[in-house]
Symmetry: C2
Subunit: 531 residues, 2 copies
C-alpha cells in the first residue's frame, strides 16, 4: 500500500500545539505514513518534538474558527492534544489523513513492520518463551504431562499455539475429538503447575453440550486424567448459573454434575466484551469531567462500575487460588470462549501464587504465555479505546483491566512485585499502539501468517535491555515465597490514578518520587533481587 | 478525685482479647484510673501488652453470652477491640468503670497531669514558640506592627493568648473597643506576614453589626491601618452571603461595602460544627461496612460528604493564597466565631505559601500558633469522635479535617513537606487522647488556670526528640521556596486511607514501604534537610 495516497498535505508551518502540562507552542506539523510529528519552532533537538504513532489515535474532532481550523486528537493512551492549523483546507487534509492512517486494517501495513531501531535484537528466539521451552523447564511435569503438537498447523484450534501441555495418557486423536466439543476448539490445556502441591490450573472454552445435553466421553476422560486419583477438582465457570443454562440454547453449555462427578462447578459472573468497554468509556469520561463537584465525580465513578469489575476479577482470582492452594485441588476455568476473562483470571491467580511470576522477567513471561500465546485477540480488543465514536465491534479492555488488577496488587504489596508501575503504564500503551510486533494480530496463527516473528521486534525482549530494565524494576522488591492475597474489600481498591489521570500534574509529582527512590537505591548500592 | 471509687473490679483473669491484625489471645485485664491494660498470658515482656488510655475510648457496647460477657471498645482513633470477660458481674463492673473514667470532665484529673516519662523535659519554655518570640523573630514586622499585651489577663478576649500582633498605630484602648464589636472579643490580629510582598493574613470573629447595621469606627480604622496606603484588601467570609445576612438577626453581621470601602468581601461557605461531625460519623460508618458491594461503598463515601469538605477547605485556602500571593493584597478571614474554619484555612494557606512552615519544626510551630494558641477549643471539639452515641454538643472534627487536607497536599507534593504521614496520624490520635498537655482545655486562658504548662509535658517538644524526629521526618524532603498549589479537582482528592482504614492489613504494608525507604536513606547516608 502507498501511504502517500492518503497524505494530501504532509507539512504545515505555523501550527499551534496545546498539550497537557505544557504551555502552547508554535511549530511545524508533519504527517507520515505512521506518525504525526510536531517540531517546535525554537528548539532544534528532539526534546522539542512530539512524535505520535497514528495508530495511537482513537478519535479526532475538527472545529473551524474563521479561516483556520482546530483538530483535537484523543489518543488510546488517554493523551489529548490540540492542533490549531492555519488554513481550513490544510486542516481538513490533515484530519482526513489521520482518520485513514490511524485505522489501517492490514497487519502488514502496520508500523512494527517498518520499525528498525539501531539496537535491534536479532536472535533465534523472538519472544521470552514458548510452550516447548516452558515444558522442558518444568521437569516435575514430565511424569504425568506431555507436550502435544496436535495443533502444529492450527487445524485443531485456531487460537491455540502450536504446542500445548496435556495429560500424558490423552492421545492427540482424543484431543481432536475434545476440541470439537469445546468452543473455538479450545480443549482443556494446562496453564499452571503448582509446585507446592502438584495441583494445576487448566483452561478451555465452554463445552458444546447444547440443548440436548450432548456428552463427549473423551472430554470427560481428559478431565478425569487431570485429577487422576485425587478426590476431586473445581470448575470455575465465569458466567452466572443462569447464563450458563442459557448458553445451551445457542449450542454452548456447562459440565453437568452427572457427567463430571469428580468436579465441583462454581459460577462467578464476570462482565466481558461490550459491557467492559462501556464501563471504560464512562470512567474516562468521568475522569475528564472538569466540574468541581465532588459528589458528581464520586457518583460518576460509581456509575462507571469499573472498580466493580476490578473487584470481581481479583476476587475470582482469589477464589481460584483458594481452591488450588488452600483446598489443594486442581481447577479448570472457562467462560464461553475462553479468550478473555479466563486468561485474565488465570494470569492474576498465577501472580498471587507463584513468586517466579512476580519478577520483571517472570511477569512478562506470564503475559506472553497467558495472553499472547494463549490467544487473546489483541487486534480486535484493542482496536479502539475510550474515545472512539466508532460502533463497538469486538473492543474490550480485558488486558487493561488485568493491568489495573495487577496495579491494585502492586499497591497493596509494594515490596512483593519486582516491577514498577511504569511497566504497567508502558504495557497499557503498547497494547493499543506499538513499535513492536508483540501485540499484533489476534492469535499465534495470524502472527505466523503475517510473519510477525521474522519481520518485527519483540517488546518483551526490548523491555529487558539494561536501560529499560532499570526503569521498570521495583527498587523496593523483596522476594517472598508466600502467596500474596489481595484484599478485595471495596475500601481497599482504588482508582488507578497513574493511568486514568496520567496526564495531570499530580501524577508527574509521583513520578518524581519514584525517580528519587531510584536515585537513593543507586546511591546506597542496593540492588533489587531481580537485577 | 479518687479514681478507685469508680473501679469495682480492677483485675480480671482469663479474658480473651480480639483486635484487628492479631489472632485472639487470652490474658489478664486490668483497669486503672487512666488506663486499660491487657497482658497476654504467654508473654512476659511489654510486647505482649495492650495499653490503652481510657480517654481514647469513644463508645463501648456490652453483650451477654451465657454467664460471660463481651465488651466491644471503640476508640477515638478508630481502633476497635473486643474483650470476652468471664462472669457477667465482672463484665458490667469493667464496662461501668470505662464509661465513667473515659469521660472525665475536670482537666486536672486527666492523664497528662499524671504522666511522668523518664526523659521528661523541663525547660523554660513549654511549647515551641509564643507570640512574643514569634514577633521578636520577624524583624520585618517591627516597622508597622507591634506586640500588644492588652489581653494579658484574658479580659479582652477569652480565647486569645496574652499577646497578639496588631498594627502599630492602633492603641490598646482602640483594641478594647474593637473587641466589643467582634464576636468573642476576637478583634482582627495578624497571623501571617508574607515576606515576599509584605502582605498579611489577619483573622478575627464576625463584626457584631446586628440588625441595625451598627458601625465601629475603631474597627474600620484598624482594618484601614492594615492595608495602609496600598489600594485594597480582601475579606474572606467563610459563610455564604445569605448566612452572613441572616447572622445580623442574631447580633452578628459582616463588613459592609460602604463602611469598609477599601476591602472587597468574598463569601465561601464552609461547613463546621455538627454538619462536619455528622460527616465524619457517616464516613467512619462507611469504612466499617463489611459488605463486598463496590457501588454501595462509593455511594456511602459520596453520601458522607467528607471529601467535599476536604475540597472546600483546600480551595478556600487556595483562594486566600491567590489573593495574597498572586494578587498581592492583604486578607482578613473569619466565619462567625473565628475559632474553627478560620484557623483551618489560615493554617493551610500558610503551609501552601511559606516554606518555613513545611519542615517538621515549622509545621508543629504553625499548629501551635494557629490552633493551640489561637484558641481552637480542643476539649470541646475532640470530646468525642465517630463512634459515640452521646448527643452531639460542641464536637467537630475541624483539626482532623485540617490534618486530612495536609495529607492531601503531602500526597500531591511528596517531596515538599519535611514531615511524614506518621506525624499526621500521631497528631490525629493525640488531639483526642494524649499523655501530653498540648491539646488540653479550650484556650490559653483555661490552660493557664489549670497550670497545664507547669504540670504537664509538651507534645510538640517530645516529637522533636531525636528518635521521634527520625520517625516523623519525610526522608524524601527537598526544600522549595515556591508555593505548592494543591489541585482541588475532585479527581485529585482521595480518601485518607492511612487514617480511616488504618487498622487494616493493607495500611500495614504501606508502613513497611516507609520503613524500607527510611532504611535506604540511612544506608545511603543522605540526610533530609530538616535533620
Amino acid at each position: 500500500m502507498e501511504f502517500s495516497e492518503h497524505i494530501k498535505t504532509a507539512n504545515v508551518e505555523d501550527v499551534v500545539l496545546q498539550q497537557p502540562l505544557h504551555p502552547p507552542s508554535r511549530g511545524t506539523l508533519c504527517i507520515t505514513g505512521h506518525h504525526l510529528l510536531f517540531s517546535h519552532r525554537e528548539e532544534q533537538d528532539s526534546s522539542g518534538q512530539v512524535l505520535l504513532l497514528l495508530r495511537n489515535i482513537d478519535a479526532i474532532e475538527k472545529r473551524a474558527s474563521g479561516s483556520s481550523g482546530t483538530i483535537i486528537i484523543k489518543c488510546k493512551d488517554l493523551f489529548v492534544l490540540q492542533l490549531d492549523i492555519p488554513g481550513m483546507e490544510q486542516c481538513l487534509n490533515i484530519a482526513q489523513s489521520i482518520e485513514t492512517l490511524s485505522c489501517l486494517d492490514c497487519v502488514a501495513d502496520m508500523y512494527p513492520f517498518f520499525y528498525r531501531p539501531c539496537d535491534a535484537i536479532f536472535c533465534d528466539q523472538w519472544g521470552l518463551s514458548n510452550p516447548e521451552k516452558h515444558y522442558t523447564e518444568m521437569e516435575e511435569l514430565h511424569e504425568r504431562w506431555r507436550l502435544s503438537t496436535v495443533n502444529r498447523d492450527y487445524s485443531v484450534c485456531v487460537s491455540y499455539p502450536t504446542a500445548v501441555i496435556v495429560p500424558k495418557e490423552i492421545s492427540d486423536d482424543t484431543l481432536k475429538k475434545v476440541a470439537k466439543f469445546r468452543q473455538g476448539g479450545r480443549f482443556p490445556v494446562l496453564c499452571y503447575y503448582h509446585r507446592k502441591n502438584g495441583m494445576v490450573i487448566m483452561r478451555s472454552g465452554q463445552p458444546l453440550t447444547g440443548a440436548n445435553r450432548k456428552r463427549c466421553k473423551e472430554d470427560e476422560r481428559l478431565l478425569q486424567a487431570v485429577i487422576e486419583d485425587s478426590d476431586k477438582g473445581y470448575i470455575i465457570d465465569m458466567r452466572s448459573a443462569q447464563q450458563a443454562q442459557q448458553a445451551r440454547m445457542t449450542g454452548g453449555g456447562f459440565e453437568s454434575k452427572s457427567c463430571y462427578n469428580s468436579w465441583r462447578r462454581l459460577h462467578r459472573h464476570m462482565e466481558r466484551g461490550k459491557t467492559l468497554q462501556e464501563s471504560l468509556i464512562k470512567l474516562v469520561e468521568a475522569c475528564a469531567d472538569k466540574s468541581h463537584n465532588m459528589g458528581r465525580w464520586l457518583s460518576k465513578l460509581e456509575n462507571s462500575k469499573w472498580l466493580s469489575h476490578v473487584q470481581t476479577a481479583l476476587s475470582t482470582a482469589g477464589l481460584l487460588v483458594e481452591c488450588l492452594e488452600r483446598d489443594g485441588h486442581s481447577v479448570l476455568i472457562h467462560d464461553s470462549d475462553g479468550i478473555d476473562s479466563t486468561l485474565l483470571v488465570s494470569t492474576l491467580a498465577q501472580l498471587i501464587m507463584d513468586p517466579s511470576c512476580r519478577t520483571l522477567e517472570g511477569f512478562l513471561g506470564l503475559l506472553e504465555r497467558e495472553f499472547v500465546q494463549a490467544g487473546h485477540p489483541f487486534q480486535q480488543r484493542c482496536a479502539h479505546s475510550a474515545f472512539s465514536h466508532a460502533r463497538l465491534q469486538q473492543e474490550s479492555p480485558v488486558f487493561l483491566l488485568m493491568l489495573d488488577c495487577v496495579w491494585q496488587i502492586w499497591r497493596q504489596f509494594p515490596l512483593a512485585l519486582g516491577f514498577s508501575e511504569a511497566l504497567l503504564l508502558r504495557l497499557a500503551t503498547e497494547a493499543y499502539a506499538s513499535n513492536y510486533g508483540t501485540f499484533l494480530s489476534n492469535s499465534d496463527m495470524e502472527r505466523h501468517a503475517a510473519q510477525v516473528k521474522d519481520k518485527t521486534q519483540c517488546l518483551f525482549r526490548a523491555l529487558l535491555k539494561p536501560r529499560e530494565r532499570e526503569q521498570y524494576t521495583n527498587q523496593l522488591y523483596e522476594h517472598t515465597e508466600l502467596a500474596i492475597w489481595p484484599s478485595v474489600h471495596p475500601q481497599s481498591l482504588q482508582l488507578w490514578r497513574g493511568f486514568f489521570l496520567r496526564w495531570t500534574q499530580q501524577t508527574r509529582h509521583l513520578e518524581e518520587v519514584q525517580q528519587e527512590i531510584r536515585n537513593m537505591v543507586i546511591e546506597s548500592g542496593k540492588t533489587a533481587l531481580s537485577f
